[in-house]
């Protein structure tokens, strides 16, 4: 069971992105509410209030609705919107390099994976090649030494077989990996477009 401090901390965590005035008002209201209820009623208050997540969500949605309804020309509200724009622009010098780094790291990762796949794939091809060459050589000496032929032939066939399996496995792995990566990036790009206030979901 939560105590009051933890409850208020959770509220703080979820509301701290609000403009100072809205944040202060909300925190003050609930702190005073707890105070007036008295320490003995602490648990009862929390039960009545419900999850701090829900309480915070209500406050945030009221704030969002209020800002949509207000005329943009209203001086006080316009300032909030302007402030958000200014903050976004200020954040760009930091945000943009971070985003670029993120992209570069992902690209490097992709290149590495591609190279690994390529190497293993080539090993597979090489094995098949050796296998085929081996079989050919084996049959060349068939006249002289049957046992050698059988041995060589057998090993070569195994080699070729393994090679083919490796090649097929790599093709399947490639399809799966890049399919999953494509889905991941697709979802990630869509998430960027959603609004800021509802980022923190459980």
């Amino acid at each position: 069971m939560m105590n009051r401090t933890e409850y208020m901390q959770e509220l703080h965590r979820r509301l701290k992105r609000l403009p100072a005035e809205d944040y202060e008002n909300a925190m003050q209201y609930y702190n005073e509410y707890f105070n007036d209820a008295g320490v003995e009623n602490e648990q009862k208050v929390m039960e009545t209030l419900g999850d701090p997540q829900k309480v915070a969500a209500q406050i945030l949605s009221d704030y969002a609705i209020k800002n949509v309804e207000q005329s943009p020309r209203s001086a006080k509200k316009g300032l909030s919107a302007l402030w958000i724009v200014i903050l976004s622009m200020v954040a760009l010098p930091v945000g943009l390099p971070l985003a670029l780094t993120g992209i570069l790291v992902s690209l490097t990762l992709v290149v590495c994976i591609v190279l690994c796949y390529l190497i293993i794939f080539l090993v597979g091809v090489f094995l098949v090649f050796c296998g085929i060459v081996g079989i050919v050589i084996a049959f060349c000496v068939v006249a002289e030494n049957l046992a050698t032929t059988m041995l060589f032939g057998g090993i070569s066939l195994v080699c070729a077989g393994i090679g083919i399996l490796v090649v097929m496995a790599m093709i399947a792995l490639c399809k799966k990996t890049f399919g999953a990566m494509a889905k991941f990036y697709y979802r990630h790009m869509n998430r960027q477009k959603e609004g800021n206030y509802y980022e923190e979901r459980i």
């Binding site: 008002n25 909300a26 003050q28 209201y29 609930y30 005073e32 509410y33 105070n35 007036d36 209820a37 009545t48 209030l49 419900g50 309480v55 209500q58 406050i59 009221d62 209020k66």
Partner: protein, 104 residues
């Protein structure tokens, strides 16, 4: 409580309680809850809305060494309250008419 109270009706009830006298958050909630079992647990969103619509103002008062924020109805709030009261009379008679069918 079967019937959900609409947000406008809740606004009206809060204003009506404040008409009796200024009150702080906890007290106001207790008073409203005595009469109506409101599902939302505190009136904070209601009070914020009324404040933004300039129906009430707040002031702080010290109590036992800590702060208490009081809510006070404005003349605009009083006007709105009277409007709500007129609407309620009409609404109540409409509901009675269909629900109580001669019993009300």
């Amino acid at each position: 409580m079967v019937f959900q109270i609409s947000s406008n009706l809740l606004d009206a009830c809060v204003l009506s309680v404040l008409e009796q006298g200024d009150a702080y958050g906890y007290l106001l909630t207790q008073q409203v809850k005595q009469v109506i079992n409101i599902s939302e647990s505190t009136l904070y969103p209601v009070l914020r809305r009324l404040q933004k619509n300039e129906c009430l103002v707040t002031y702080d008062q010290s109590f036992q060494g800590r702060n208490r924020r009081y809510y006070q109805m404005t003349p605009q709030g009083k006007t709105l309250l009277e409007q709500y009261r007129q609407e309620w009379i009409v609404y109540r008679s409409q509901v009675d008419h269909i629900l109580m069918r001669g019993n009300g």
